[in-house]
């Protein structure tokens, strides 16, 4: 019914469909609990090693999780794999820390409120055991460093701390004045410290350095290292790091800017699709990502359903694309919604950089970067909604921006849908894997029991619990609930593990 339409069938046997199991949930709602708007998760990202996971929310917070199942043993993961550990192990995470990344702001020049909602998070190169990440809201990108710091206490000062005053304020404070040998003039006290004063050759034995006592306690400290602001007139939808480790891009509706991580006061505009006259505007940038290994290749998607790959080597302003990927419209099927649902909400490069995965409203498409005639595979995500497009348009759901992700081995792809469902498709040749899961503690109940009445019961209970407005069951018995949509999800870079966001809860699954 909702199966994937593989285009190619291969002689070699496709990998077996995965059996997904619930692993963990963070921020699970209790019965009757109302979801606070600010708690809704708006971004999820694994770091390159998969040892850390970050989520951002509408309240401008970033929450970090760290993997616990590998760290405990002190044996490098590579060795564990070689030892053929029991397969039962799967990535487990624990809460690490959180910090307030963005605050609500007001742009007084344009009379615009700037939401604190985190639109994207990207991990950067780790250094010296500290974690680095970029987070962005609509306008401002920030570079964060998260580091464990040992708690230090200072003791044994030269002076009683209660009496000590700043060396700049000796003159202004009256009490220590009498201590000064030459009568308390500030200039003279500084002269005294100047070069003309001769210290005894052995030094002054009565002076000593403060003693710093380092305790074993550590504190996780998140510090904002740089703020990249004032470069976007429109809302930032993506940030992406370059493989060179020193630059990144930020994309808004009409422009893409290139930054150096170390320079926050200037950026270079590399793509500008803004027409001279805004009335001629027909297409906006919806998402952009750097190639994982080629420093000069960048892909961006548009609201018209096309993906452009540009080569930064060609020119400084990359208005002309190197490659264009779009699917010709099927003749005769055009409707009012065709253009709206063609809009690509997210693109992701596969890990090897050969394939690009794109998500539009109804489908997930996999493109071979060497084949621009059409996608190599198309997966229908929620075809049963097609008759409902009119309703979805009425309640604006048709503009929901679903993200997509690929597994580290590139064999599977995943994306979200409504009713807190998400789907996993096999994209290896010959694979017919098409799994529907629900972001709950029992992810497989949707597919295991396709026609048992208990499912609609469960969906009713869920609806009741979550207070949804417009529940319903369509002709096929599929429950759909437009208010519970699963927009954000991420696949672990090395293992079959998916993290996905259902409102304010982070669910994790493994296979």
């Amino acid at each position: 019914m909702n199966g994937g339409d593989e285009l190619v069938a291969a002689p070699a046997g496709p990998p077996q469909p995965l059996d997904w199991k619930f692993s963990q949930v963070f921020g699970e709602r209790t019965a009757g609990e109302e979801v606070q708007e600010v708690d809704i998760i708006s971004a999820i990202e694994f770091d390159k090693t998969g040892d850390h996971l970050a989520t951002g929310d509408r309240g401008g917070r970033v929450v970090l999780f760290e993997r616990t199942d590998t760290k405990d043993h002190g044996v490098p993961r590579r060795d564990l794999e070689r030892m053929e550990y029991p397969i039962g192990r799967h990535p487990e995470f624990r809460y690490k820390t959180e910090f307030q990344s963005h605050e609500p702001e007001f742009d007084y020049l344009k009379s615009l409120e700037i939401e604190e909602k985190i639109n994207k998070i990207r991990w950067c190169q780790t250094a010296n055991g500290a974690l680095f990440l970029l987070s962005t809201n609509d306008k401002t990108i920030k570079f964060w460093k998260v580091q464990e710091k040992k708690v230090k206490k200072i003791s044994d000062m030269n002076l009683d701390p209660s009496k000590a005053v700043g060396n700049g304020s000796i003159a202004s404070s009256s009490s220590p004045k009498h201590c000064l040998a030459n009568g308390g003039s500030p200039d003279r006290s500084y002269n005294y410290l100047g070069n003309d004063f001769s210290f005894p050759p052995g030094g002054l034995p009565s002076l000593h350095l403060p003693v710093v006592v380092t305790s074993q306690e550590t504190n996780l400290v998140a510090r904002c290292r740089r703020v990249y602001a004032h470069a976007h007139d429109y809302h930032i939808n993506s940030v992406s790091n370059n493989s060179d480790g020193e630059t990144f891009i930020s994309a808004d509706d009409l422009r893409i800017n290139l930054w150096n991580l170390e320079i926050s006061n200037q950026s270079f505009n590399i793509v500008d699709v803004k027409p001279a006259n805004m009335e001629d505007l027909t297409e906006v940038i919806t998402s952009a990502e750097f190639h994982p290994t080629h420093c000069n290749t960048l892909a961006y998607s548009s609201s018209k359903g096309s993906i452009r790959v540009i080569d930064l080597r060609q020119s400084a302003l990359c208005d002309s694309h190197a490659k264009l990927f779009e699917e010709p419209e099927a003749p005769g099927s055009r409707s009012f919604f065709t253009e709206i649902i063609a809009s690509i909400s997210d693109i992701k490069f596969a890990r090897d950089g050969r394939y690009i995965l794109s998500r539009d409203y109804m489908t997930l498409k996999l493109w071979d970067i060497n084949m621009d005639s059409g996608p190599v595979a198309t997966f229908q995500v929620h075809e049963y909604l097609r008759p409902k497009l009119c309703d979805l348009y009425e309640n604006d759901s048709i503009f929901d921006k679903f993200e997509c992700c690929l597994s580290g081995d590139g064999l599977r792809v995943a994306t979200g849908s409504y009713s807190n469902l998400f789907r996993v498709f096999g994209c290896a040749p010959g694979s017919t894997e098409a799994t529907t899961l629900e972001a709950s503690k029992n992810p497989m109940r949707q597919v295991q029991t396709p026609s048992r009445p208990s499912r609609s019961l469960s969906s009713i209970t869920r609806v009741v619990r979550r207070g949804a407005e417009n529940p319903g069951v369509d002709a096929n018995g599929n429950a759909f609930d437009f208010t519970t949509k699963l927009l954000h999800l991420a696949w672990h870079p090395t293992e079959n593990s998916i993290a996905c966001a259902a409102a304010n809860s982070l669910y994790m699954y493994y296979a």
Binding site: L159, V165, G166, N167, D244, G245
Partner: protein, 586 residues
């Protein structure tokens, strides 16, 4: 709590504040680290202060940066060069932090210390440090290590030298692009210390690796290495190894690499020598001048004069000039602007005939360019052409260009042209100036924008300097003084300002007879701002005029102003009076 002797109080505060919570106070203390060291004495500095600082590596970047800098000049405070090695551990830690500017400063300080260290110490402590950093777990340490090899290498024994070369070669192939970039940046420095036979083999193979790197950012740093390496190699080796690389780079797929070549071309030419330049680099340069990326053309156009200087005039006329003609009508204004800023310098290179025949039409077309920057750039370098062909051929086109710029609606453009007026006046001569530009100079004094009026006042002074007081008496002073009756007080203020600037140039007599009466008169102005400016101007006139004039004219006027109802007027008047008293006393 220890009791501190009273005289030691400030130094005790300084030491305690190394650990203050306020970053500004910590920074203060670190900046005075040498004072602390002297107070502790050399031995305790070595045994206590330096280890203390080594622990202090998780402070704010600003503090770490200051510490890295201070430690670079710390040798005298630890007991001289024989103890220099105690400074290495804290700097080694600073070499690994993730903030680039701190690392760079630490490397710089290490190099400074290493350069003074004794050979024995270098082998025993400095070289192991370099090796540790180069093998560092995090890329930050490896990045820093690249900048230390040229200090470590010369004093290493033979076996160690081989090892160091091998390590550097590893760094050139590091997984992290940051490390490879640092290796590329420092390759020239390192190569300069390596013996000739190894240079040709080891260094060249590292260089080859870098020039073929996947990352554009590494390749473009390798371009800089071309020039540095070229200078170290024998001419024939350079032609054989470096030249092909440069030619390749000039056709690199990435415009950023080509941009680097265009920017570095002059140095590259110097490195390969004149003969290969003519045979191989001229075609490469012509390609860059015609590059399809404007940024590359901008960089190339900016070097056109320098490049032509290495060539003989025939080659320049034959190969470069056609490109210059194309560039003068380039679609990018920035390219034209870059060309305009250097093209005048080609006149002495090409000689009189070629300039008149070939360059003049280009000058004229650039003088009519629609963008003011282009025109300004031509005007700013007028003297270079004047020496070769005289100005007459240009003057007809110059005037409209100048007038248009003088009336441009962007004040920054007007400001720029004002800056060039004295230069123009000296090149064009008094006659031309009187006819055409005099009126403009007066007009600027009444500009809407303060910066323009200010610059105009200064311009009047510079003209008086250029053409002398007699000329100024005829052509400037009357017109300027006329404007003191302008109904707008801001314009009257500009005139007062001009007078104060003109007075020293005009000398005592003219100041007393012409300028002073105008100023005295202005003290009756109804606007207080004018009155206190009168006081300021009078103060500035005191040293110029005779003592008797001060007594008879200036002081009475100031006394009157010092009783003005306005507080500011009184303030400046009394200030001026005070300074006149001082002059009298001395």
């Amino acid at each position: 709590m220890a009791m501190i002797d009273e005289p030691l109080y400030p130094i005790a505060v300084l030491i305690d504040e190394l650990k203050n919570e306020d970053i500004q106070l910590r920074l203060n203390s670190i900046r005075r680290l040498s004072t602390i060291a002297r107070a502790l004495g050399e031995e305790r500095t070595r045994k206590e202060l330096i280890p203390f600082l080594s622990e202090n590596n998780d402070d704010d970047d600003e503090v770490l940066l200051a510490m890295a800098e201070e430690l670079g000049v710390f040798i005298p405070y630890v007991g001289g060069v024989q103890y220099a090695n105690v400074l290495l551990p804290p700097l080694e830690t600073l070499c690994t932090v993730e903030e680039t500017c701190v690392r760079e400063k630490a490397v710089e300080s290490l190099c400074r210390i290493g350069a003074q260290m004794m050979e024995q110490d270098l082998v025993e402590s400095f070289i192991p440090l370099v090796k540790r950093l180069a093998a560092g777990e995090w890329f930050t340490a490896r990045v820093s290590s690249c900048g230390l090899f040229h200090i470590a290498y010369p004093s290493a024994p033979e076996a160690l030298k081989t090892e160091l070369r091998a390590i550097y070669s590893q760094l050139c192939q590091d997984d992290m692009p940051m490390v490879r970039r640092s290796a590329a940046t420092n390759l020239g420095n390192f190569a300069a210390t390596v013996e000739a036979p190894h240079l040709k083999v080891d260094i060249m193979s590292m260089f080859d690796d870098l020039t073929q790197d996947d990352q554009d950012s590494v390749r473009l740093l390798a371009v800089e290495g071309c020039a540095a390496l070229g200078k170290l190699l024998e001419p024939q080796d350079c032609a054989a190894h470096i030249l092909p690389v440069i030619v390749n780079f000039s056709q690199d797929k990435s415009w950023r690499v080509r941009y680097m070549v265009a920017n570095q071309l002059y140095e590259l030419c110097e490195a390969v020598g004149p003969e290969p330049t003519r045979s191989d680099l001229v075609p490469a340069y012509v390609r860059l001048l015609r590059d399809n990326e404007a940024e590359v053309r901008i960089a190339a156009a900016g070097k056109v004069t320098k490049f032509c200087r290495i060539l003989n005039p025939e080659l320049a006329i034959q190969h470069i000039l056609p490109c210059v003609k194309e560039l003068s009508t380039d679609s990018s204004q920035h390219v034209r602007s870059a060309l305009a800023s250097v093209i005048m310098g080609m006149a002495p290179v090409l000689g009189k005939d070629a300039t008149i025949e070939q360059l003049l039409p280009i000058f004229l077309s650039l003088l009519k360019d629609e963008f003011p920057d282009v025109r300004l750039n031509i005007i700013s370098k007028l003297d270079q052409v004047n020496q070769v062909i005289g100005i007459d051929l240009l003057s007809q086109s110059l005037l409209p260009a100048i007038v248009e710029l003088a009336e441009d609606r962007h004040w920054r453009v007007r400001l720029a042209i004002i800056e060039y007026i004295p230069l123009l006046a000296s090149q064009l001569g008094v006659g031309f100036f009187d006819d055409k530009l005099g009126a403009l100079c007066m007009q600027w004094l009444k500009d809407k924008v303060y910066s323009i009026r200010d610059a105009a006042a200064n311009n009047v002074k510079r003209l008086a300097e250029e053409f002398g007081p007699d000329w100024a008496m005829q052509h400037i002073v009357p017109q300027v003084l006329d404007m003191i009756n302008n109904p707008h007080y801001l314009h009257r203020m500009t005139i007062l300002h001009s007078i104060s600037l003109l007075a020293p140039v005009m000398g005592s007599d003219i100041t007393c007879s012409k300028l002073l009466p105008v100023v005295i008169n202005a003290s009756k102005d109804r606007v207080p701002n004018i009155k206190f400016n009168v006081a300021k101007v009078l103060q500035s006139l005191i040293p110029i005029v005779d003592q008797s004039v001060v007594e008879k004219k200036i002081r009475p006027c100031l006394v009157e102003l010092s009783e003005d109802p306005d507080v500011d007027v009184r303030f400046f008047a009394s200030q001026a009076l005070e300074s006149s008293n001082q002059v009298m006393m001395s």
